[in-house]
Symmetry: C2
């Protein structure tokens, strides 16, 4: 575990400022939990009005302790909490947990007070957890510096799971849901307002605990993605899956998050791209985290997505097949020998193809189950199994089904999930240690997640080398002109439309011939980034004469608008191809962000684009494109030839490299449209706009 | 209840062919259930090898019964089942339930056997339930002609819910899930292969049972939509909500359905449109049906979609807000007086805007809950309430919370849903009769469903009158020519592009002037429906000279292709407008189906269209458009003026009327593109293709 957080996660001495005799008070709970949880270090209750707290000697103040404690829990509120932080900092305490609420989450005044605490801690090299937190709990050592009621409701048991959360309530709930399923949990830590220590920092520390096999995060914002990215990269090297909830997915949720933990909103699509890039699986809520934990802890990492569905209900076969397709799984095609073996066991009217319908005949013959399972266990086409038992009970030997399924699971070594709709049916399966769910949506959902997450964790992450330096043309305004932007793109190897920047009608006539008609005429001015809105774009100009006339009228318009310009661009028309786009921007939290998708005027309105965080490779661009609504067009429909996806992907990769090299000096870059031809015809940038970051001068 | 099915749902005499002494055998269960369930009629076991079955006199055959039974359960299998059906038909039995499997679901041979049964029944006016069914169960009368194990697992209690299902397993499971929640169920009927009686017919009969307040359907296909539509219309008149599962949503699921109940696939989007049109709410599975039942049975029919979220966890407030937005609900804006009242109760750092975060201070003061609830109960901005208690237990007065919530529910009279993540917290709420869910996704999901379903049930359904007769031009081939199609559209009041059909170059020159350049030239031949694929469309023709040249080349091409034609169409170019489309086809099951959405070449690939079943009105077209991805364009983006949605909607309504009047004589009709201008500019059909039904001659 990282030294940095060692004194908080594994302290030798813990003091509680505001210690209470009442174990149901916030100041009483941690003492109760630590004494009960076998904490081997020293506990120092601080409460000036008592001699003793929960059987321990109580002290009047921090100053009176026989030593400087490594960790101090601050349970007092408001100004007293700030004073306590300052006191701890002054005395050389290494870590404090501030449980009181009423700081950064309440508004500007609270934020200022919180900042004072943070400053005091930072100046002294002391780390702060919270404020507004339920605290920390390490069930490996019994250092339970938290007050959650849940540790009474669901008694702890050390185990392979770590729960890290901005919200105390959610940390407790995930813990509770896991314990309800009998899963052991070692770490349950909440960071609250994250005045100092973040979930990402804790994740980095705890990823180094070798006994942790599954890490669950609850986030309301992502404050330091670079630490989380580093953690995820390390976690992949040791096969530690990370499953995250990021709440505040909607405008309403983000508003609520700002009043909960004072979180700033992240853009949702960027958050998704971030998680995907780093192999972190995102689920909607803590229930989904708890639901999948057992399957991950089995160590199952399926190498394919072919599912076998087995049920004693035909309708469950239908719904299982629906669920498979909805979760990105295929129904495996059973081998002839497997089908024959299945057919030998089942009645003539049963289905021996996948899904396998054992039918209600199971009521008459409980052995059907034990006969069918071994028959499919070794089928090479199967990557995972789903057994759906919607109805059983009196007349069915459910205990035997559960035993048979556990044997089957051991036999195949592949993931097996059971859906048992009735508690009475579920119980023996749970007792047999088989991952058991309430319905097929949950069971098949978890199997699909396991397959997709494993594939994501196994994706290669190649760093980019030899980035070419970017020289953003200098200028007073926010934008570069189109000619400047196209030139910059070309200098980075990005194919741009054939064009000439013309100053005179004669040059326009020459350009018409050189470029080849029909052409487009576009005024080139850094002061008019959205030129079509001012009638400064003429499409499909068929002759040099017309081009010359339009040149004059665009020049006149520019003069009327009183803007500087660099001339008029005469560019080739690109026809008969697909309009795509590559956009990019520098996100203040995540850095360079690249968008790829359908181009045209309505990119923002129609939102058919994917977000990629560099570095990424050609395959990742193509895979992202295949997730878009425009995906069918890639392969050609209605007689079209397939698109030159590789050429387009290369543009996206080049833009990503350019943005990485540019850093914050480029605020945004829009290539729209990028005309993409048929395979072999390439892709060409027709229009482009670069927005400088005016705060950033790197020329 | 309908007379037709009376003898099955409420029989006076029931015989069981294949009666068994063993109550766990299919032939034993119904006798056991009926005797236990207080059935007041007469039961006749038929089993030639026994004197007595379960204490009742056993008969050797149907012929030996003292009377002809109204209902006969046929438990024997294969050919014996067919013989039994024929025997029943011959003896004047009114209804039979065939439980055996191995008929229509197994393939062509089974289908033929099943058809023999059906024919025998039809010829005698006898109704058949099944084959391949768990049977029928009426807990109102004790007529339990089914064998499901679930009736032992979860003892029956008569109540306000009816469950009708193609699948026996699903009928039992929905029953079980409802009973688990303490909800009474009267009808549990499964129709299996539906050789004769369908779920729709049973729904019609049971909708007339005045004590039924909620109807739940499980379908694998929709065989007779007209009966279901009639049932839904009647159900709306008596405020009887219908909630349907239609499994086989995916290709894999449909394949599985065909081997389960022998169901034919329905097109999913049409199924959705059908349910929506008739105010039937569709959910993904039986769990979702059971989950929402209590809220419906409370009689809650919210008139708005504004939600108040209350929690003792800030994270739950965030996730509640997320869930609200994801389920189409708004967070209501609390009145100043409500906020003030809430603020009086809560600590200073708590949030008094919606979501209301009571905070962990609830641990110190259990009264916070009882103080906050009455403060918001009467807020006029609230249409419904969601209370999320993710963590409570030792130290919390959960019993009081539950009592307070029940009081609050009575006080507001508006929908209230609770999410209690721990069983121990959920129990007192369930005992208090408050709809209680495991998490906010479920709770808010049900509230959102209730609001949306209520709105759907309240939609007006105006029939169309005075349909204008449609005269599809006669012809030998499948298609009408474009000129014919445009003429037909115009004769039904649909605005079409200005055009002239020309036979000579001179006529083309005249047309160029009359129509106004630039123009489009299109060869007009019923034999070449997809003319652009043959280079027979020229866009943007700028002069009469060029038009005349193109005319000659298109004529030449037609001659080369050796196809008949009606001339060349010279049509106005429609520019600067949005390309939309209206498509229509005659579905063999659902009749006329209209598609509206984004137009162009890639309608099928990009799938941005909605399906409407006529009759529908302008508002319903607009509402469907607003559900599309193109919706932002309707109001104008990037400086565009808002679109003339009403004009486009009028085209859609006119096409719907035309299709209704045409019936099966028009196989399909595609208006693509329909160019839609800015508000006031109207919509105009630029290209259209009509496909005749060659089987149908109505001229």
């Amino acid at each position: 575990m990282s030294d940095l957080l060692e004194t908080a996660l594994n302290p030798r001495t813990v003091a509680i400022i505001g210690a209470s005799e009442n174990i149901h008070k916030i100041g009483g709970r941690p003492i109760y939990y630590m004494q009960k949880g076998g904490f081997q270090g020293t506990i120092y209750p601080i409460n000036p009005s008592r001699e003793e707290v929960q059987g321990l000697k109580s002290y009047a103040s921090l100053a009176q302790l026989p030593e400087v404690p490594e960790l101090v829990l601050i349970v007092v509120a408001g100004d007293k909490a700030v004073e306590a932080v300052e006191d701890c900092a002054a005395r050389g305490v290494k870590s404090v947990v501030v449980m009181a609420s009423g700081f950064g989450e309440t508004g500007p005044e609270g934020r200022a007070t919180q900042q004072r605490m943070t400053d005091a801690g930072r100046a002294a090299g002391m780390r702060i957890y919270g404020p507004n937190t339920h605290g920390l709990a390490n069930f490996g050592t019994g250092a339970i510096a938290g007050f959650s009621t849940m540790f009474i409701e669901r008694p702890p048991q050390d185990g392979p799971v770590a729960v890290l959360s901005q919200s105390g309530g959610m940390s407790a709930m995930v813990y509770g849901l896991l314990r309800e399923r009998g899963i052991g949990v070692r770490h349950v830590h909440a960071t609250g307002n994250e005045a100092d220590v973040t979930v990402a920092e804790m994740a980095w520390a705890i990823a180094h605990d070798p006994e942790i096999k599954l890490m669950l995060l609850y986030l309301e914002n992502i404050a330091n993605p670079e630490i989380l990215a580093r953690t995820a990269a390390y976690a992949r090297t040791r096969d530690l899956p990370i499953i995250a909830v990021k709440a505040g997915r909607t405008a309403g949720g983000q508003q609520a998050a700002s009043t909960h933990t004072g979180s700033m909103a992240n853009e949702e699509r960027v958050v998704d791209a971030f998680f995907k890039k780093h192999g972190i699986w995102r689920v909607r809520d803590p229930h989904a985290q708890a639901l999948c934990a057992q399957a991950y802890l089995k160590g199952w990492r399926p190498t394919g997505n072919r599912l076998v569905v087995i049920s004693n209900s035909g309708a469950s076969c239908v719904m299982g097949a629906d669920a498979a397709e909805e979760n990105g799984l295929e129904l495996s095609i059973l081998s002839a020998s497997t089908q024959k073996a299945v057919a030998t066991s089942l009645p003539g009217f049963a289905t021996t193809t996948n899904p396998i319908d054992i039918t209600a005949a199971l009521l008459s013959n409980s052995n059907l189950f034990s006969e069918v399972l071994p028959a499919v266990a070794q089928d090479p086409s199967a990557d995972m199994f789903f057994i759906n038992i919607p109805v059983a009970g009196a007349g069915y030997d459910v205990e035997a089904f559960a035993r048979d399924t556990a044997k089957f699971e051991a036999l195949t070594g592949k993931p097996v999930a059971v859906a048992a709709w009735q508690d009475t049916v579920a119980k023996p399966f749970i007792a047999a240690g088989v991952p058991t769910f309430a319905n097929e949506a949950q069971a098949v959902g978890v199997l699909g997640q396991l397959a997709a997450h494993t594939a994501l964790m196994n994706e290669s992450f190649e760093p980019w080398h030899d980035l070419q330096a970017v020289h953003v043309p200098e200028g007073a305004g926010a934008y570069c002109s189109e000619a400047q932007t196209l030139k910059l793109l070309a200098s980075h190897g990005i194919p741009i439309v054939k064009h000439q920047l013309c100053q005179t009608a004669a040059e326009v006539r020459e350009a018409f011939v050189a470029v080849g008609g029909p052409v487009v005429l576009k005024a080139c001015s850094a002061e008019v980034p959205h030129k079509s809105e001012f009638g400064l774009v003429a499409l499909g100009v068929q002759s040099a004469d017309v081009a010359a006339t339009i040149f004059e009228s665009q020049r006149k318009k520019l003069t009327e608008m009183k803007v500087s310009h660099e001339g008029i661009i005469v560019a080739a028309m690109s026809r008969g191809r697909h309009e795509c786009m590559v956009g990019a921007r520098f996100d203040p939290v995540f850095g360079p962000v690249v968008m790829i998708g359908a181009g045209g005027k309505y990119v923002e309105a129609l939102k058919d684009y994917a977000v990629l965080l560099p570095p990424f490779n050609l395959d990742q661009v193509e895979s992202a494109l295949r997730g878009l609504r425009m995906a069918p067009l890639l392969d050609g429909v209605r007689g079209d030839a397939p698109m030159d996806v590789k050429a387009f992907a290369q543009v996206a990769v080049s833009v990503g490299r350019l943005m990485m090299a540019a850093g914050p000096s480029i605020a945004s870059l829009d290539l729209n449209p990028v005309m993409v031809g048929a395979v072999g015809e390439g892709a060409v940038v027709v229009d482009a706009l670069l927005e400088r970051d005016l705060q950033c001068k790197n020329g």
